[in-house]
């Protein structure tokens, strides 16, 4: 099947997968931490953190992309020191596309994981504590295995969102073939030129196939976890 794809299509598909995987994996630890904090801790600024996490979900993606550009662009208040001190930049790079996708997918990931954490009986964690387990041990041995299905669900949601991210990506890192042109932006490009529909259609089918594969993978994973819980 891959042989049937043109090099341009392969490049866009490969870039999309790379961007989405990195966006998902890199934001997972932070997403877990944010979900845990929101679910279990009571602290001043709890509402503010909740609002910040959800902001990309309710803001127009173009706005999020523009804010990212302002912050992480070569002249941005985070981007400038990053460039000056480390020579690192996100602007108009695939890493920038990954950052935009991660930010956009973050609320979905946090929501899924948070729901899973809230479903864990705090008494289980307390029981582990009275048996002598310190907090990190309690998390690793009791909480983490129980919320694994939620983490998988959150990661798949985030991955799917990242695969489909368009507005923030195109605003932040533009649409450079081989650099920042992901599947959605490639489809957009094809639709802008006369006679591009056929090529766009091929990319649409690829997108659908990737989405279905991701869904099937997550179903299979959560089934395995469920089977472990039931003791089979």
């Amino acid at each position: 099947m891959l042989a049937a794809l043109t090099p341009e299509e392969l490049t866009a598909l490969g870039l999309s997968l790379k961007v989405s995987l990195w966006a998902t994996l890199a934001s997972l630890p932070l997403g877990l931490l944010a979900a845990y904090a929101l679910a279990r801790w009571r602290f001043p600024g709890h509402g503010l953190l909740n609002g910040l996490v959800h902001l990309p979900l309710i803001l127009p993606p173009v706005v999020t992309g523009y804010l990212l550009l302002l912050a992480f662009g070569r002249q941005g208040w985070i981007g400038a020191p990053l460039w000056d001190w480390f020579g690192v930049t996100f602007a108009f790079r695939w890493t920038g596309a990954a950052l935009a996708a991660a930010v956009m997918a973050f609320p979905l990931m946090v929501r899924a994981i948070r729901l899973a954490i809230e479903a864990v009986d705090p008494k289980l964690e307390q029981a582990a504590a009275t048996l002598g387990a310190a907090r990190p041990v309690v998390f690793l041995t009791v909480t983490l295995p129980l919320i694994l299905p939620g983490i998988i669900a959150g990661a798949v949601l985030a991955f799917a969102k990242a695969m489909g991210e368009f507005g923030a990506t195109i605003t932040f890192v533009a649409n450079i073939p081989g650099q920042t042109q992901t599947l959605p932006t490639a489809i957009y490009s094809f639709l802008q030129v006369p006679g591009g529909e056929a090529a766009a259609w091929r990319l649409v089918l690829i997108s659908v196939a990737v989405a279905l594969l991701a869904l099937a993978l997550s179903e299979w994973l959560s089934r395995r976890v469920a089977a472990r819980i039931a003791g089979r």
């Binding site: 008494k123 582990a128 504590a129 009275t130 048996l131 002598g132 009791v142 129980l146």
Partner: protein, 359 residues
């Protein structure tokens, strides 16, 4: 190894609500001690303070003589058994039981051996490789106890662990818990709202109401000599007479009520008003009035309870009184509507103040 626990002037506030008010109790090493009271009386808060999940607002808690202030739950020599047991659903039984040992870095073979030993102790051999979902309520109970015992705690804290079980099993587990406690010699602190449980299992009971410990004594003392009306009413049934103390001497007093003047033991009233309490099983039925403490009544209802017969009657002033007659197989029971006299021994009746609450 078991440790004693001392609470000295312990208070716990949640905002402006005082959940525990000036608790003082000294629990001996190896003792089976119950906190008994209705929900919201502060008994669970005491348990959570001892286990380290909340810190007292005031006062000192000592375990084995050492102040435990600032020690986290995992640093205290206590193990807590929750009402819902909180067994780890993803681990087989033996891993559940040996969880505390794994945390302490003990090797797998030793953990497995210890888990099987404990399963024998709680009478559940052969369950090591089952999953939690495969066990019945009573079996889960035993696993929770084994898991807590595995870490060899000096103090075992139990938060209404039997309340989810059905009646028969609950009564069976009472005896089991008591037996396990005596085999291991660990100090047990048991929280319950079930007076039957507390009386049947405990060496001593602390009865609580509205954040205050009302009375600390052995079960017999609690039942026979309650210090106030709350303890009398929460632990067992009572006939209660309103009235006023007339004359008092040698621990006895005469008490004027709408039913006449009775004689009874005088509790520590201080300057508070008192009521007269008589247990139904201390009420005797007779055709003729006795020399003192008799109330003429009309039998209104008789219910057969098996081991005893409950007789409910109405006095001439309209008060409902009850008596219990032990069913020895030949007990004569008056007919409904019969006129009889209910009589009680002055030594079996007490004039007591209401509960000890914040003024």
């Amino acid at each position: 190894m078991s440790a004693g626990i001392d609470l000295e002037n312990v208070c716990c506030d949640f905002g402006s609500f005082r959940a525990v008010d000036n608790a003082n109790v000294s629990i001996r090493p190896g003792e089976f001690f119950s906190f008994l009271g209705p929900s919201g009386c502060g008994k669970t808060t005491i348990l959570r303070m001892v286990s380290g999940f909340i810190e007292p607002t005031q006062g000192v808690i000592r375990i084995g003589g050492a102040d435990v202030k600032g020690k986290r739950p995992n640093q205290r020599p206590t193990a807590l058994i929750f009402q819902n047991l909180a067994l780890f659903p993803l681990m087989p039984i033996w891993e559940n039981i040996s969880f505390g040992l794994e945390v302490r870095g003990i090797d797998k073979a030793t953990r497995r051996k210890k888990a099987e030993e404990l399963l024998r102790l709680v009478d559940l051999p052969g369950a090591a490789d089952k999953m939690v979902s495969q066990l019945s309520g009573g079996q889960k109970q035993r696993v929770a106890i084994a898991r807590a015992l595995a870490v060899e705690p000096q103090v075992m804290l139990l938060d209404e662990p039997l309340s989810a079980l059905d009646l028969k099993l609950r009564q069976h587990m009472r005896a089991e818990l008591r037996a396990i406690q005596q085999r291991t010699g660990v100090t047990f602190i048991y929280i319950t709202h079930d007076q039957g449980e507390a009386l049947a299992m405990s060496d001593r009971v602390g009865v609580m109401s509205q954040g205050r410990i009302q009375q600390i004594a052995d079960p017999r003392e609690i039942y026979n000599n309650p210090v106030n009306g709350f303890v009398a009413s929460f632990v067992g049934e009572n006939n209660i007479f309103q009235g006023e103390v007339q004359q008092a001497a040698d621990g006895m007093a005469s008490f004027a009520t709408p039913h006449g003047t009775f004689r009874a033991r005088l509790g520590e009233l201080g300057d508070k008003p008192g009521k007269l309490y008589v247990r139904p099983e201390h009420m005797l039925l007779s055709d003729a009035p006795a020399v003192e403490n008799s109330v003429p009544v009309t039998i209104s209802d008789i219910s057969f309870e098996g081991s005893f017969i409950a007789v409910h009657a109405t006095s001439d002033t309209g008060a409902i009184l009850s008596a219990e007659i032990r069913n020895d197989g030949a007990a004569t029971v008056p007919e409904k509507g019969a006129r009889v006299h209910m009589t009680f021994d002055p030594a079996r009746a007490a004039i007591l103040p209401d509960a000890n609450v914040r003024g």
